[in-house]
């Protein structure tokens, strides 16, 4: 599974992208965020406040309880500030 980070999540994790295989217990997007937060201090800092973390599954916005369901690309980022 390809995992992307943007803006300050990217800066805190320290990489823009990583390839990981989460265990079967990781079912939803929120599960994945929690699992990532447990990996090391950098990930923990990125996911410290789940309320300001948004996610996309295969390039579509999703809610935290959305099942990963074989997605190939998961992205985490703060609320958007374009426009």
């Amino acid at each position: 599974m390809r995992i992307l980070y943007f803006a300050w999540l990217r800066e805190r994790v320290g990489v823009a992208e990583e390839s990981l295989d989460p265990p079967d217990t990781v079912v939803s997007v929120a599960d994945l965020a929690r699992w990532l937060a447990g990996r090391d201090e950098a990930h923990a800092a990125a996911f410290a406040d789940p309320k300001v973390v948004r996610a996309a599954l295969d390039r579509r916005h999703v809610k935290p309880d959305t099942p990963l369901d074989g997605a190939r690309e998961v992205a985490f980022f703060p609320p958007m500030t374009g426009g």
Partner: protein, 173 residues
């Protein structure tokens, strides 16, 4: 006098680019050579300077390549499903943008002004909250007064309110 082009023959386009755009050229394309367009609305969003001890020198826009274009296309499709548009263009820049430069353009064309205005405002409101772009501030020496962690601009609740005026385009958020 050219014949009216059927509504489906219009220009519908989204673009993400580092280069500045020419708002005039982008919006002129929507009506040039046509006689069925009655209203063109163009919105240009620009980078503003600010005052203070450490004035803004630039905004650096990060985006999610691929998803940005896809999300903009989804928003455009949603606007087309809501209003009878004869053309629409969205251009969003990424990279370093200095005060006075344009950041985003939305142009809409319709037979009547109500649809063109509403669609342009809808697209801007939803772009702000849904298009995967993030602004980081670059300030003069000292970086004092940066509003949030590491200079990243915080999302405004006013933008969420503006987007919420329209019912959600999908059930994802």
């Amino acid at each position: 006098m050219s014949a009216p082009i059927p509504p489906d023959g219009g220009i519908f386009q989204v673009r993400v680019q580092a280069e500045p755009f020419d708002a005039a050229v982008e919006s002129a394309r929507l009506s040039t050579g046509r006689t069925d367009v009655g209203a063109v609305v163009t919105f240009t969003g620009l980078c503003r300077a600010d005052a203070g001890a450490a004035p803004l020198t630039a905004l650096v826009l990060e985006h999610y390549p691929g998803m940005a274009e896809e999300e903009m296309a989804r928003l455009l499709a949603e606007a087309r499903s809501r209003w009878p548009l004869q053309g629409a263009v969205i251009v969003h820049r990424h990279g370093r943008i200095v005060p006075g430069e344009p950041i985003v353009l939305v142009a809409t064309a319709s037979a009547h002004r109500g649809a063109a205005f509403a669609a342009a405002e809808f697209l801007m409101d939803w772009l702000k909250t849904n298009a995967p772009f993030w602004k980081k501030e670059e300030r003069a020496a000292g970086d004092r007064g940066a509003p949030s962690a590491g200079g990243w601009v915080a999302a405004k609740s006013a933008d969420d309110d503006a987007a919420a005026r329209w019912t959600a385009p999908d059930d994802a958020r």
